[in-house]
Homo-oligomer: 226 residues x 2
Amino acid sequence: MITETQFQKELEELKENLLKMATLVEGTIHDAVQSLVKRDSELANEIFKREKQINDLELVIDEMCLKLLALRQPMAVDLRFITSAMKIITDLERMGDQAVNIAERALSLNQEPQLKPYIDLPRMAEIAQTMVKDVLDAFVNRDSKLARSVCERDDLVDGLNDQVVRELLTYMMSDPKTITRAVHLMIIARCLERIADHATNIAEDVIFMVDALVIKHHADVKEEKG
Amino acid sequence: MITETQFQKELEELKENLLKMATLVEGTIHDAVQSLVKRDSELANEIFKREKQINDLELVIDEMCLKLLALRQPMAVDLRFITSAMKIITDLERMGDQAVNIAERALSLNQEPQLKPYIDLPRMAEIAQTMVKDVLDAFVNRDSKLARSVCERDDLVDGLNDQVVRELLTYMMSDPKTITRAVHLMIIARCLERIADHATNIAEDVIFMVDALVIKHHADVKEEKG
């Protein structure tokens, strides 16, 4: 017989898998940027294997969610939790894609002299990683306050991205030989910015789920700040 | 009393709304690129309003899906259809975000002399638009053949993007004064490439849904072609 407790156990298992996937993604972002910073092409090649694991985990969790929906027919809060989980794993999987993009650019860049010391990019990666970690914690613990702090950090990443782009434009303008490398680095910054965007998308879903408030498309918070 | 026919009617309504959202997105992509090509900043400003409509429609459809899941407790095929719909509207909404990015860059570019005639960008936009249209048709008609053709077109868009980047790099290297404009144009090309990626993501979901085959992470087709 199916008991309430069994359903709760299955939900716990779902949460564990989500956190596992998030940890994997977080580590992959870190290592992708480290493959650039440490000029470690072997590590860059590791990222491609890691992405495969992320993709496999997405499919496992997706299947798990479908089964929960079909067999347990959850209502209200649990229903929203499971459908949100299905959206979240799509975001996590795409963060993995972005890490692969970073690793590909790192492989190219590692074959040429280093254009400049990398300071802002690892900083962006670090913030993006904590956003991924915190937003998943916010999701499984239904913590909308933590989710809001993730949204706020998105501005930091956007600011760093603008700074990186401005700096690289200066390099490009003063020496055309730097253009190809500078474009690679701009793309890497953009990948990190997109990872932060994905985390922010999840955060907005969490806030929506928890507070049943549609902040996604009415950025009142931003207006207040502005 | 709830009849099977009522449920079918609700599914039809869901399909209509999905197609409506896709048409809106398609038109927005078109107009965003036209605001660049025709140097029409008024049209670029229209895009921001259009994005709001897209966002509102996403929320309406999301709610509709949740209600269907909660009240109708669909099984198997219908269950997968509804959860896929929920993921698809997220992709459509993000295509709207990309259109906004394009419009923002167009606004900047329209204030400066035109760097070059725009030929590849409208071509990329055109392909991306048909991908959006076709992938939604493929979804509502459960047509995996059409979905596969969408996946194939992604390579065309990627190829055009590479071409645009190469050409713009040449401009940048020969004349540093072109760098800022060239970067804007590279970003626009990348936005179009990302729109095509979103369409491809949906196409992979459709194929998964229809054929219950996991092609998403095992690109056999690509290997055969390669």
